[in-house]
């Protein structure tokens, strides 16, 4: 380990790091702007300047030179000064220069109070303005409903374009012009295209890119109440910090988890939680009356009704992969194991259970995100990850850079020398092969993009597996055969191969063969990773809880003979074909629904119980990686809303169920579930229980500077209400307590003296960019599995399209395919109506064009046509999860007819159109 001297003090440093990150890891305040722990160094802002001396004599005489900390490797014996007048003077001059054209609009800036520029300005001690010239000003752009643009606040650190373009692969944000006119924006106004644009909000160290949904419903950082949470947008389970004020969820920030999401979220995660504030939220329990509308009742009454209905009756429970393990577990106990459905539709049921089973049985490792980023050859079978598990797609954009890092290592170039590594490698990437039913959003970084019908993707996978294990493959169609050699050769040569598949193309064999490829690689002695995606935040937990033999929705409908149906947070109409849902609901006399938002299923209920959203309750979710993670209420649910687990526990007690007798706290449920469900035995390790105290005290959800607590309700009553007491967790709904050094799962916000922005995170990390000091949140439930003996599997049959029939393949959209995020402000504007994607030649044959309507199977659905030539021949894509598509089943063969009298939908407003209505987007 190199030893260096800084201002006369010797420090042992980790080799291979730059001086800036090393200083920050030591807790020394060295200001910076352009450097970012995940993006490395380019040396643009010159803020991290220090003085370097070559010899001791130089140090004594002060004859050193200014160097940039971020560009300087720590080498043994190096001598630096951080605190000397020269270094400090230089750093002050940098801020002074950056502020020349700054509008000094902190009072009205959304970044105010959590602004890195403010912090750095104070840190370097710059105060007096000497500059007398005019300021340069810029015009701002409309960038869509999610992100606000205020270029005048820009300090030209280049972080935005480096993040957007280099890191996230976006193409529609650029640095424009030169000298002191440099401008960061789009060629023309319009919605930012990247699915990861929202991270600009956190990457930008000033208020240029801010969260528009927050700006429109604004609260300062110091007035936000926050809790550690987990994104419910998909199964990746990114860690988030939602912030609340006045009972409204104001925004979602990234919560660092080195193994799950690092520094970044996708835009579904960041902007898709606003449904919590949706007007359709259920306020109070309701009983359906004669007229079909609901009479509100209080929760005591509601519980009595529920208990009476269930008492002595044949009750079935339908759980939900978007509800917590605990709520599902209680429902399962309430209705009995045999009467509990995990709430999957038939296909989902099969696929999710298979995903679990394959991972449990695979000798390949299910990788965390760091491992994914280390993969050097990747094969994706059947997934458009950017739309099904977005954060993983962002990780893969880093994986493909491993080739560049290898090249850099050959030149002994540090990987944090970001620009140099990129210049060296140019377009050279580690091989990524994608076989999907149509083009995917990772196509630009893939070595081969192969589009095939699902069965043929499975055939390709099987052939690759056979080729790796040296089995002779059978004769293959040329469209498949042409790829097998390249893929298997690359995989065999890989040091850290990664195979990715999942449930999203709706085909079990695709997943199966992906696992076979991974197994074949393991057998040949390679350290192999296997990732299988599943649809929802707790899909995998649900499979663990209910098991493959539990009834799916279809099975429940078929077997159905129940008096009462209790449905937990599951809009069946969104999940299964309408006739099936109708049949299912008709099996019972009484339908009781617990959910947060009004939907078609709640409308079919005789009793509705308003459930707290993820932001108002605790819960454990199991991510696709098999990681159990705990989320906590950010704020207490309003009025008659209760967490689903509270409703279910109360009902169980009302019924006098013995299984509920010993359950009092949330933790009791977790513990009980862990004790009874083998696969979930680890969930108690997801986070400390409610007894945990941080150095004897609780952990505050409110920062020290939280203002106006005594005045927040002053317009209603002059008496200060008591803060809600959190009896379920070590967190408190107050500002009292200690937010430092606690376990990683309990970190509600980051803030450190002098570091008011999210950049203070490094003060909570073991080293810059490293895991949290309190340990990484979550508990892995999947260990490396036991490989089964496997000979060559029989090849799936080839896909043979029939004349006049098309196979339905689901196509996902980050905005629109997921039910709840689509109900969020901003995101809703970007969601489209359901549509069908067909190839131009097919469209020609059907005499339809873009915007026309197509009838599927004489009335199964009618959807608008989009032309997409990348769709595999013989297949048609449909907008999965979107309105009008619930009746469609993946893999089904469909006939198509032009819809007569179809009215072209009102044209989807694209951002650049809208901008003329909104003006230039300034505010």
């Amino acid at each position: 380990m190199p030893t260096i001297r800084i201002d006369g003090v010797e420090y042992e440093m980790e080799a291979g790091k730059n001086l800036l990150e090393s200083c920050l890891s030591l807790g020394l305040d060295l200001p910076y702007f352009c450097w970012h722990p995940a993006m490395g160094s380019v040396g643009a802002c010159r803020q991290c300047a220090v003085v370097q001396y070559l010899t001791d004599e130089d140090e004594q005489s002060g004859r050193g030179r200014i160097v940039m900390g971020c560009m300087t490797p720590v080498t043994d014996g190096a001598i630096f000064s951080l605190d000397g007048d020269r270094a400090k003077g230089f750093r002050e001059s940098v801020v002074e220069s950056l502020m020349l054209n700054h509008p000094h609009d902190c009072p009205v800036c959304a970044e105010g109070g959590e602004c890195h520029l403010q912090d750095m300005t104070v840190m370097v001690g710059h105060r007096d303005r000497v500059y007398r010239g005019q300021k340069n000003t810029h015009r701002n752009q409309y960038l869509g409903p999610l992100i606000n643009h205020e270029m005048n606040r820009c300090i030209t650190c280049y972080r935005c374009t480096r993040y957007y373009k280099d890191y996230a692969g976006g193409t529609d944000l650029a640095a424009l012009a030169s000298h002191d006119h440099v401008y960061f924006g789009r060629h023309q106004e319009g919605v930012l295209e990247s699915e990861f644009a929202g991270n600009l909000v956190e990457v930008c160290p000033t208020g240029v890119f801010t969260d528009k949904t927050l700006v429109n419903d604004y609260t300062r950082k110091w007035d936000l109440q926050s809790a550690p949470s987990v994104c419910t947008g998909c199964a990746v389970g990114c860690n988030t910090v939602p912030g609340e004020r006045y009972g409204r969820l104001k925004r979602v920030h990234n919560r660092f988890n080195a193994e799950v999401n690092g520094y970044f979220l996708c835009d579904r995660g960041r902007f898709g939680a606003n449904f919590v504030n949706n007007d359709e939220r259920l306020e109070s329990p309701g009983l359906r009356n004669q007229t079909g509308s609901y009479d509100p009742v209080d929760h005591h009454h509601a519980l009595q009704v529920m208990a009476e209905a269930c008492s002595g009756a044949r009750v079935a429970g339908i759980g939900s992969p978007r509800a917590s393990v605990e709520a599902n577990y209680l429902l399962r106990n309430l209705v009995g194991e045999d009467n509990f459905s995990p709430g999957f539709n038939d296909r989902e049921h099969k696929l999710v259970n298979l995903a679990l089973e394959l991972q449990q049985a695979s000798s390949a490792v299910t990788p965390d995100i760091r491992s994914i980023e280390s993969a050097d050859v990747i094969l994706i079978l059947g997934e458009d990850l950017t739309n099904t598990a977005p954060r993983l797609a962002l990780a893969l954009r880093q994986s493909v850079r491993n080739k560049a890092f290898e090249m850099a290592a050959d030149l002994r170039l540090e990987s944090w020398q970001d620009a140099a590594v990129r210049n060296l490698a140019q377009d050279q990437l580690s091989p990524l092969f994608i076989a999907a039913t149509g083009s995917t959003r990772l196509a630009d970084v893939a070595e081969e993009n192969i589009t095939l019908a699902p069965q043929n993707i499975a055939r390709l996978g099987a052939a690759v597996a056979a080729s790796i294990s040296g089995h002779a493959g059978e004769d293959l169609e040329p469209e498949i055969a042409g790829h097998v050699e390249a893929i298997s050769t690359a995989l065999r040569a890989a040091k850290r191969p990664l195979i990715i598949s999942g449930t999203s193309c709706g085909n079990a064999e695709v997943m199966q063969t992906a696992a076979d490829v991974a197994e074949a690689l393991c057998q040949s002695g390679q350290q192999t990773m296997l990732t299988l995606t599943v649809p929802e935040a707790n899909s995998l937990g649900q499979a663990m809880l209910a098991g493959p033999d539990s009834p799916s929705l279809g099975k429940l409908a078929a077997d159905g003979n129940f008096d009462v149906l209790v449905i937990l947070e599951n809009d069946l109409y969104h999940r299964a074909p309408e006739p099936e849902v109708e049949r299912l609901l008709a099996t019972a006399d009484t339908v009781i629904v617990l959910d947060g938002l009004d939907n078609r299923t709640t409308s079919a209920a005789s009793l509705v119980l308003p459930a707290a959203s993820f932001a108002e309750t605790e819960g454990t979710l199991v991510s696709l990686e098999g990681r159990a993670q705990r989320h906590y209420p950010v704020f207490a649910p309003k009025g008659e809303r209760r967490p689903a687990w509270v409703w279910l526990l109360a009902c169980s007690k009302e019924l006098g169920l013995s299984t509920a007798a010993d359950l009092h706290h949330f933790d009791d449920i977790t513990r009980d579930c862990a004790a009874n469900i083998a696969d979930l035995a680890g969930i108690t390790g997801a986070a400390p229980d409610h007894h945990f105290r941080n150095a004897g005290v609780k952990i505050p959800r409110q920062p020290h500077r939280y203002s106006g607590r005594t005045a927040m309700r002053a317009d209603i009553s002059v008496h200060e209400p008591k803060q809600p007491v959190d009896e379920e967790s070590p967190l408190a709904f107050t500002m009292e307590g200690l937010n430092r050094s606690q376990p990683g799962s309990l970190l509600p916000f980051v803030w450190a003296p002098g570091w008011n922005s999210n950049q203070s995170l490094h003060r909570f990390q073991s080293e810059v960019g490293g895991p949290l000091r309190g340990g990484t949140a979550g508990m892995r439930l999947l260990g490396p599995g036991q490989a089964k003996e496997s000979g060559p599997r029989e090849n799936p049959p080839a896909f043979s399209p029939t004349q006049g029939q098309w196979q339905l393949v689901p196509r996902y959209r980050i905005f629109g395919s997921e039910e709840l995020s689509a109900l969020s402000l901003g995101v809703a504007e970007l969601c489209e109506d359901g549509y069908i994607e067909i190839r131009a030649d097919d469209a020609l044959g059907l005499e339809v064009g873009e915007g026309d309507g197509l009838n599927l199977n004489d009335g199964l659905a009618t959807l608008e046509v989009k032309i997409n030539n990348s769709i595999a021949a013989g297949c048609i894509g449909y907008a999965a999860g979107h309105s009008g598509t619930a009746n469609l089943t993946p893999g089904e063969n469909i006939s198509l007819q032009k819809a007569q009298g179809w009215k072209r939908r009102r044209p989807q407003l694209i951002g650049s159109d809208r901008s003329t209505e909104i003006g230039s987007g300034n505010d």
Binding site: S93, S97, G133, T156, Y158, V182, A419, A420
Partner: protein, 431 residues
């Protein structure tokens, strides 16, 4: 044979270009034959021995620079590039234009020999957009070379192959900085790159690359043909060879001449440039372009070479002097330069992007009677902040501070006069 002005031997008084026939008739492409008869290693050794230093401004020894290029097995498979920097935009510099417009074949021969020495297989001439005539001449000359077998797949039957292209730029002074030039040649914004890695190992498209100035490259085949000793014998001082020296400003005969390296400043100004225009006296001069420090009368007897001028507190830079006369206001002079550099900043790093316009603004205030006493402190602070290599991402901004800091040192009264509203030049003068 004693050839004393190798670079300009084909330059005619009417400045008409030398074509292939005339060039060959005067011994052209003999250097290339001489080089191809030797190994690349031998060529490099000759070049090292010759003590040729880069003529683009920094004066870095060319042989040493080339020796960092990976050769043979040490080089990963792929292209190696040679780039000629013909982006001449340094204020007051007009030497490369002469070579380009009058004798394009000389540059091309120099480049082929250089590329052979480096075993580069692709060469680019990066030429500024406004040099239309030179661009055309170079393109014609390259075509002529293909016909003659001096360029192409199998040069003069040796099996060595080289393709050469002319890239006409789209403006911006920063493109002359070698790493910015590489960015620009890649079709990107001309932001300079941090070193290390040096272009020799990771340059154009990540491949080993050498960038040299026009004048530097024009010397190479002469050296290979006539030897290191010959080259050294041309110079008057340690820095070998000849140099194109230029003088502009209020002298009787502004121009550019090839003279022995180390010719005294006074001789260049008085003998070749004909001395000051009538009615004007010399107040100071920038020895080698707009980003060098002022020298004054006391330095007139210094030898114009890298070390001597460096020791005197300036840089020889491009060797083209700009004369400050006694009727021109030094404040206006440096304002013009600092404003130039501010406008030409690439906008990447803070001190340059924001510091230079501020400095220019302060100078403008001073020049136009809006100056305040504290402005001198601000300027002094800016000079410290911007004016050292390493403070900024590339050398543009430190260069920009050189005329300013030396003007403050040598002509303090000019600033004081302005602050008190009594500039003899600007009150009724031209500036």
């Amino acid at each position: 044979m004693s050839l004393t002005t190798p670079l300009t031997r084909n330059v005619r008084d009417d400045r008409r270009p030398t074509d292939m026939a005339a060039y060959e008739a005067n011994g052209g492409y003999q250097g290339l034959r001489a080089a191809l008869a030797q190994s690349p290693e031998d060529c490099l050794q000759v070049l090292k021995d010759s003590n040729l230093r880069g003529r683009g401004g920094a004066g870095f020894p060319t042989g040493m620079k080339w020796s960092f290029v990976p050769m043979g097995d040490k080089c990963s498979p792929g292209h190696k590039y040679l780039i000629c920097n013909a982006d001449e935009m340094e204020p007051g510099t007009f030497k490369d234009r002469l070579l380009l417009e009058c004798d394009p074949h000389q540059l091309i021969e120099g480049m082929i020999v250089s590329a052979y020495t480096l075993q580069a297989d692709v060469a680019y001439i990066f030429i500024r957009a406004e040099y239309h005539q030179a661009t055309r001449l170079l393109q014609e000359a390259i075509a002529a070379c293909h016909e003659k077998g001096y360029l192409g797949q199998d040069i003069l039957g040796t099996g060595y192959q080289l393709e050469m292209h002319v890239h006409s730029s789209a403006g911006r002074y920063i493109c002359g900085e070698e790493t910015a030039l590489i960015s620009s040649l890649e079709g990107k914004r001309a932001n300079p790159r941090a070193k290390p890695p040096f272009p020799q190992v990771s340059g154009l498209w990540g491949r080993p690359t050498i960038v040299n100035n026009v004048e530097t490259l024009c010397n190479v085949h002469h050296i290979i043909e006539r030897g290191a000793e010959w080259f050294k014998s041309l110079g008057l001082t340690e820095d070998a060879g000849t140099k194109l020296y230029g003088v502009s400003g209020r002298v009787k005969n502004p121009g550019c001449w090839e003279l022995p390296m180390g010719t005294p400043v006074r001789q260049i100004i008085e003998e070749y440039a004909g001395g000051m225009e009538d009615g004007y006296n010399l107040k100071g001069f920038l020895p080698g372009g707009g980003s060098t420090d002022f020298l004054t009368e006391e330095h007139l007897d210094l030898a114009m070479d890298y070390d001597t001028i460096g020791k005197a507190g300036s840089r020889m830079g491009t060797g083209t002097m700009i004369i400050l006369d006694d009727k021109t206001c030094p404040v206006g002079f440096v304002k013009n330069l600092v404003a130039f550099f501010a406008r030409e900043s690439c906008g990447f790093c803070t001190p340059c992007r924001d510091g230079l316009p501020w400095s220019a603004q302060v100078l403008d205030d001073i020049q136009n009677g809006r100056g305040q006493e504290e402005d001198m402190d601000t300027l002094a602070r800016q000079v410290k902040f911007i004016g050292a290599i390493g403070n900024t991402h590339c050398a543009l901004a430190p260069g920009a501070m050189e005329p300013l800091q030396s003007a403050m040192k040598y002509f303090p009264e000019a600033f004081e006069n302005h602050l008190s509203g009594n500039c003899p030049h600007c009150n009724g003068g031209t500036h």
